[in-house]
Symmetry: C2
DNA sequence: CCGCTTCGTACAATCGATTGAATTTCGTTG
DNA sequence: CAACGAAATTCAATCGATTGTACGAAGCGG
């Protein structure tokens, strides 16, 4: 600031990078400096062809020199396009907690990449599980975003559906369900659960357990798949609900697996995180993996290959998922309609199972 | 649309939840419906006292009924306050890749919580390491955010400093450095490194190695601390640079630790992730932890307690860090000045060291 | 019953960029 | 040389909410 105060440092005057005396904050300011009108400056910076090439370059140079950036709010207001995508993580049935599931965080990272690639900014919101039903509307209706991605349906499926009925640019990561309105991208969880149980059975397990809370539909479907496979083989599958990704998970698993009347030799885990915790508990209680008890995880997080022994698991293609979500969202923003997609999961055999 | 066309569905008229015939998108629309002026509606929705209580409640009820939400862009433009905080993760020297470091992701989650708590939205950007130097200006100067948080300085310290010189509401997670302009919150990495090495030495290690790339200042400081401790004890410390958090990390560690002429019995790891990978490599190569080789991690991720054996590590208080960052940022937005803060890390002794 | 304050509301300017329409400039051509 | 058309630029309306000011209606004491 200080109005320039006539600094006469030789370098500057020589190299033509004269320090700006006037502050240029608005298009109008820059227009004044350039000796043209605001409209022309706007078009010049947008690179439109209606303005003379020479003028355009001059104006762009000036903008750079003065470090001018057009005010996004004004721009977005006028052009009715924000260039922002809202990404929401509904914490749903989980108690007040922070976003901690590494799978979701990884997906978030991938989405950030994809959106950046497509020229969008990403606005992150957690949805607070306070029983309010307008957490999604607050975002879709804010006029702040061109579209919304929801990471995980949890148990909020009806709410999402209700919003989707009148808000088109919405894509959800999760599990497709019969008669569902909103566009869902996700893994075929039921199939994944089936793969998991089938592999355990093929590897010799006879008494199966499913580890994980099934309030969220995704997990419920994994269990259903596992249960179906067990039934097909005429084997039992015990359900042990434990928290998915918070501090209680560890102790819960410990307590659950130590139950004396519980008998199992194969565990289908709702996530890799749970599997890792289970692995550790089993080790502590002296049960050998995979010899005494076999385990299959779900997700194939990068960490899954690092456990000891490395985790046999069901792989979800996070990168592909993020790519598809963003693609579909872009289509929907364009007004097209898109169908849901359930991607096939794959079994990754490592060392927590016998085959 | 369609001008209402006199739909006379009986249910609606009965239950008083009359479906709106006219679309209410703007303040002016709602004002028309309520029979008042737009200004009054604005004040009513903002809960200002200047408007009659009865009128206010009537208008709020109408707004709810018509599902009206004021356009944020217009609001933000006018009030010159966006209610949005930009959060940037500079990928810095790391090659083109996605945000994957679990420590940063966890910090991000905590920041999301804190910001939501304070009524801010969070706009996420990755900074692309394309050698451009204006990645930060693009965000600070966009008029889209009231302030910016940077997660990790990496090797972009000078750029951040340059921006901080004229952009006040900026707080960075990282390592404070002499003569640095910008406000940094972080762990005392040097002290952490020292704690780590000292503990190894006290536990009997005599040939130390430091595992991790030191391009980023944070890691460099951890190494410096470790090196100082080693020197104090008259012991050597070999530096083995490996990637911090990408696909190459695993193989690199494997290759590094297998080097025949490399001799070590204590490893200071730059992060828990590296430590976990190292743990696995050592196991595969038949070296017992902690008996043959001791390891100390850094971060104390939730996973650190789950490894086998559980990881001795240096704890960073992520939650506190996030809280402090947001607090300081709010102060800076208010125009106050804030000083940097280096939080003391603590040693968490588990089972990868002998004591 | 009048002038005064208090309260509630309406009016209009404003935030800053965008964009369709109007206008100016300039080179061509009949 | 006038008339025309294309190119470049200016003008002015617009996006939708906010807010200072002005205005009108009650309420009050004297």
């Amino acid at each position: 600031m200080a109005a320039g105060s006539g600094k006469s440092n030789g370098e500057d005057s020589g190299t033509d990078t004269s320090v700006p005396q006037v502050e240029v904050r608005t298009l109008a300011d820059l227009a004044r400096v350039a000796g043209v009108s605001a409209g022309t400056v706007s078009r010049a910076l947008a690179g439109k062809s209606l303005v003379n090439t020479e003028t355009r370059e001059r104006i762009q140079a000036l903008a750079r020199q003065y470090g001018f950036r057009p005010n996004q709010m004004a721009s977005k207001l006028r052009s009715r396009r924000t260039g922002v995508i809202g990404v929401v993580i509904p914490l749903g049935h989980e108690k007040r907690q922070s976003i901690s599931d590494p799978f979701f965080l990884t997906l978030l990272g991938q989405l950030a990449d994809q959106l950046t690639e497509s020229g969008y900014d990403l606005m992150l919101s957690r949805a607070i599980p306070d029983g309010t039903t307008d957490w999604l509307e607050r975002i879709t209706g804010s006029g702040m975003v061109d579209g919304v991605l929801v990471i995980g349906q949890s148990d909020q499926s009806e709410i999402i559906d209700r919003v989707a009925a009148h808000y088109r640019p919405l894509v959800v990561w999760g599990n497709h369900r019969e008669g569902q309105v909103h566009c869902v991208v996700g893994t075929d969880n039921e199939h994944g659960g089936r793969l998991s149980a089938e592999h355990l059975i093929a590897s010799g397990a006879r008494r199966l357990a499913f580890l994980g809370d099934t309030t969220g539909i995704e997990i419920a479907m994994r269990r259903r798949g596992a249960a179906a496979a067990a039934q097909d083989a005429g084997l039992p599958l015990t359900h042990i609900p434990v928290a998915l990704a918070n501090a209680e998970m560890g102790p819960q698993i410990k307590a659950a697996l130590a139950m004396p009347d519980l008998d199992y030799d194969g565990i289908v885990c709702a996530s890799d995180l749970i599997a890792m915790s289970a692995l550790r508990v089993l080790y502590e209680t002296g049960r050998a993996v995979p010899d005494d008890t076999q385990i299959v995880g779900f997700d194939d997080l990068p960490l899954a290959a690092q456990t000891m022994p490395p985790l046999t698991t069901i792989r979800q293609e996070i990168g592909d998922g993020a790519r598809v979500m963003v693609e579909k969202l872009k289509s929907r923003i364009e007004g097209e309609d898109t169908s849901s997609l359930a991607m096939a999961p794959t079994l990754i055999v490592r060392r927590t199972t016998l085959r």
